[in-house]
Symmetry: C2
Subunit: 253 residues, 2 copies
DNA sequence: TCAATTGCCTTTGTATGATGAATGAGCTAG
DNA sequence: CTAGCTCATTCATCATACAAAGGCAATTGA
């Protein structure tokens, strides 16, 4: 698609000025995640970054401001810009999660997310049973049907699952829970991909998701919470598989 | 052209070049929170913002990038910068919470936070009972002692309470929970201030906090969870009082 | 008359150079 | 060897110039 970074050469500086801000931000963020700029080290000087990514200082500085606002780097006058420890990063920010991407396996994050989901999603399901609108329940049902329809389509199934859990958090009518949609999406995305070949688990998942929709219809808090917890037990198994598969990649380093 | 004395609210000027980025960011963010720039409206043109806040376009643009990265505004090329709906804001970002400040009462957020705390903190207490290091338990005890010592000092008591809950989340050794320290701090800050005159409640709170430390020492998950829940019952009462006191301010609008 | 194309205008996006400000390093003096 | 000063380097800000693109209106064709 679009890429202009890494062009250390960058001889031809044509008159054209494409919109590069987003790409540069993603490039630098990815490089940080990939340990090209390790935690604790200083980034190159702004002028060097300009060369390395082939853009002006304006773009570099706006990029650094964004990364700083997400806790990934910290700039100090005259000294330079240092990469912060990972536990200072705003890992709940969905953009940050996107930048981390598959490297989430190296962040020891998925387990934390699962623990958090066990605390949050059952509560959200309970609230949803009380507060979900008819429309929201219909949305959930549609997502559930998409899961059934996409039973053989890995990507479709995953997307539908993500949509389901997103709708559930929305239906809880709690702003805080809603903010956590990003980490849940990330967790689903990366743990499902590794376990989606196991067909019977998907059947089981579809059943439980359907049961949750029914519980919401009946405004049955207890059953909604129970469904959510069983869902998370499945998620725990999926995660286990996913981590197993990624361990080789880790030890290869 | 655009760089004489225009103050317009900002402090200090002259030929000098103070570091203004943070101030301008806070100023614009606060103005957004104060509905000077209401949700859904367009911000003034960048050049007008330069005049209004008395800084160059560079500073304005870096500010807008930061606000955009936190979901508060969205810029579209050539069209302008629009203020996003509040439910798109990254309200888990502690900087955003600082900018919101007291207006948190108008955001219908404190109730959501309490609900979230009821889901999260008991779980965190349980994990802490399993995982807290000796050092972390000592930190918690010190925070608890500070609460006792600051029993008569409103600010000191609140700070110690915030420190206690922060330590607790740290002791849970879960990165996701740790990220939620910001909203919990905000919740404590604004609900305690309204209820801290009620001395006997503070006594009760101190007792429960002490009991939690003891439970962690004994690695007693069940009791730790129970203490946490009782703490939140107190917090619920505090919040009720705080909201009552602020309702006049709301209806006055 | 109406609709689609085209070109202009305005505002954002990017580039660039200059200068103030700040801090670590090196130097000087005691 | 320490304390204080100077200086060089790099970030922070300002100012300006121009490219890019959305919206608007005039123009043109039917």
């Amino acid at each position: 698609m679009e890429q202009q970074e890494q062009g250390s050469g960058m001889e031809e500086r044509g008159q054209r000025r494409p919109r590069v801000q987003k790409n540069v931000t993603r490039a630098i963020a990815s490089d940080i995640c990939a340990d090209v700029f390790p935690v604790g080290s200083y980034l190159p000087r702004e002028n060097d970054l300009c060369e390395r990514y082939g853009v002006s200082r304006t773009v570099i500085r706006e990029t650094l401001k964004v990364l700083e606002s997400k806790g990934m780097v910290r700039g100090r006058s005259r000294v330079g810009t240092i990469v912060c420890n990972k536990d200072e990063w705003n890992i709940l920010d969905s953009q940050v999660l996107e930048w981390i991407g598959e490297r989430i396996f190296e962040f020891d994050l998925l387990n934390c997310i699962l623990e958090a989901r066990r605390a949050i999603e059952p509560a959200a399901a309970e609230f949803a049973a009380e507060r979900a609108t008819v429309q929201e329940i219909a949305d959930l049902e549609r997502a559930w049907q998409a899961m059934r329809d996409g039973e053989r389509d890995l990507v479709g199934f995953t997307d539908a699952d993500v949509a389901f859990h997103t709708c559930l958090l929305k239906a809880s009518h709690n702003q805080v829970f809603l903010q956590l949609v990003g980490i849940i999406q990330a967790a689903l995305k990366f743990s499902l991909h590794a376990s989606n070949e196991v067909a019977e688990r998907r059947d089981e998942a579809i059943d439980i998701h359907g049961e949750l929709v029914e519980a919401l219809r009946l405004r049955d808090k207890v059953r909604a919470r129970d469904c959510s917890m069983r869902m998370l037990d499945l998620a725990a198994r999926d995660l286990k598989i996913a981590v197993e598969r990624h361990r080789p990649a880790l030890s290869a380093r």
